[in-house]
Subunit: 256 residues, 2 copies
């Protein structure tokens, strides 16, 4: 959750904050917000979208993107609204992860927040991230976030690591056409491991979730790789039959 306090250019935010503050503190009720951990993939690094906190207490610290849930919108709706506002993207992967409700987690008063995890293609919204203090951070360098956002981030990142080994979520982060190396780089970045190239290839192919496009990449200073796209029908089929998609990537070597 993010609310403006000190920035004089954003009077609307200040008003919102004070309204929230008085409501939360005086009326003895509990505020509800949504926070989004938005992951992207760029330069073979897993990134997360953060915004500069405007609360004096957390000056210069980074925080997740969030907002108060409005009384007439569903939780998921609120998460989508935040995502749309900040990235311009509509049809993205979004999953509720956990709700954080410690009494003093927010300095303004009692605010319980529902954390969502989202995966987007970092190159599909270049224009929108030029907003004020929005920035893509390398996940390995995310420390000391505002509020309890470090804990929220850690929880969502852990969840992502687990889910990507059971579901082919990676495709939300890659371009439509990609090589096997792209896919492996993504997995290695998320799981922070090194895998054997040949075994990775075998594993992916036995799952039968890729479609060979009969094209090859170009502008690479070595032998170009084949391009593939994701086989959605296969994915959905796997989702339906059985409890979970078998998508384990073991045989990982320790991270470099």
């Amino acid at each position: 959750m993010h609310m403006s306090l000190t920035d004089s250019k954003e009077k609307k935010h200040i008003k919102t904050l004070s309204v929230v503050q008085s409501e939360v503190q005086s009326s003895n009720r509990i505020g509800l917000s949504v926070d989004c951990v938005i992951f992207g993939f760029d330069e073979n690094k897993l990134k997360v979208l953060l915004i500069r906190s405007d609360l004096k207490k957390f000056q210069h610290k980074w925080s997740l993107l969030g907002d108060i849930v409005s009384p007439n919108e569903d939780l998921d709706e609120a998460a989508y609204r935040i995502l749309k506002k900040r990235t311009g993207l509509n049809d993205v992967y979004l999953e509720q992860v956990h709700t954080f409700g410690a009494v003093r987690r927010h300095p303004v008063g009692r605010v319980v927040t529902v954390a969502y995890c989202s995966l987007i293609n970092i190159h599909h919204h270049k224009l929108n991230i030029l907003d004020n203090e929005l920035h893509w951070h390398d996940v390995r360098q995310v420390i000391d976030l505002a509020f309890d956002h470090q804990q929220i981030f850690d929880t969502c990142y852990q969840r992502l690591k687990k889910r990507i080994q059971e579901h082919p979520l990676g495709f939300n982060l890659l371009p439509k056409k990609f090589t096997l190396r792209d896919l492996q780089n993504l997995y290695e970045a998320i799981l922070n491991t090194k895998m054997d190239r040949r075994n990775f290839r075998k594993k992916i192919f036995t799952m039968d979730i890729l479609v060979d496009l009969n094209e090859i990449e170009n502008n690479v200073p070595h032998r170009p790789g084949k391009l593939y796209k994701f086989n959605f029908s296969k994915y959905e089929k796997n989702e339906l039959n059985g409890q979970k998609l078998i998508f384990e990537l073991k045989y990982n070597k320790p991270a470099m």
Copy 2:
């Protein structure tokens, strides 16, 4: 979430309800509750603890155990409070599962609820479940719950099925001393499958999470089985190293 409305013996509940009602409806803010899906194991059946709904709209329907979160208690605290009140148990397994926030999920007004999943030994609290309309239901016969509680129950049951294959949660549901057959019966009840007895034994032993007590059961009309207890140190060790405990139970036959 459960609130009394029609039962004249429970004036306190009615008052609570009306207060909640007016607050929720008039103040345009969002109410927050906690609902607990409490699982137990008895007669080789997986059971869930339900209470009769007192809301007129859901008369005679069963609902989960829940309550409004108080402004000065953590979310987890609220869940523990409900569990303690209804079962008398303090130190139990409790895990947050999902938050349900559809605008019209509750007839009284906007109430968002955080669902928790709990596993308790059904024989450790016989006295407390004799409250009003509290009852242990066979999970296979749970249908048509009040509110959106069917959906909440389904979500928690699904989660349980998944988690018990990754973590040895079953021990929360069994007595301290148990046989391998007890353990297998539990797994078969939760996962609704039949497994091969000899392979199950092998799998459990290779995980090294049991301690042989050098005792055998008695009062059984056949060869008695050895008694075991859970090896907690092993469990914690497994929890720490690596992302997840390897605890897969495949080779299941279709349910009977």
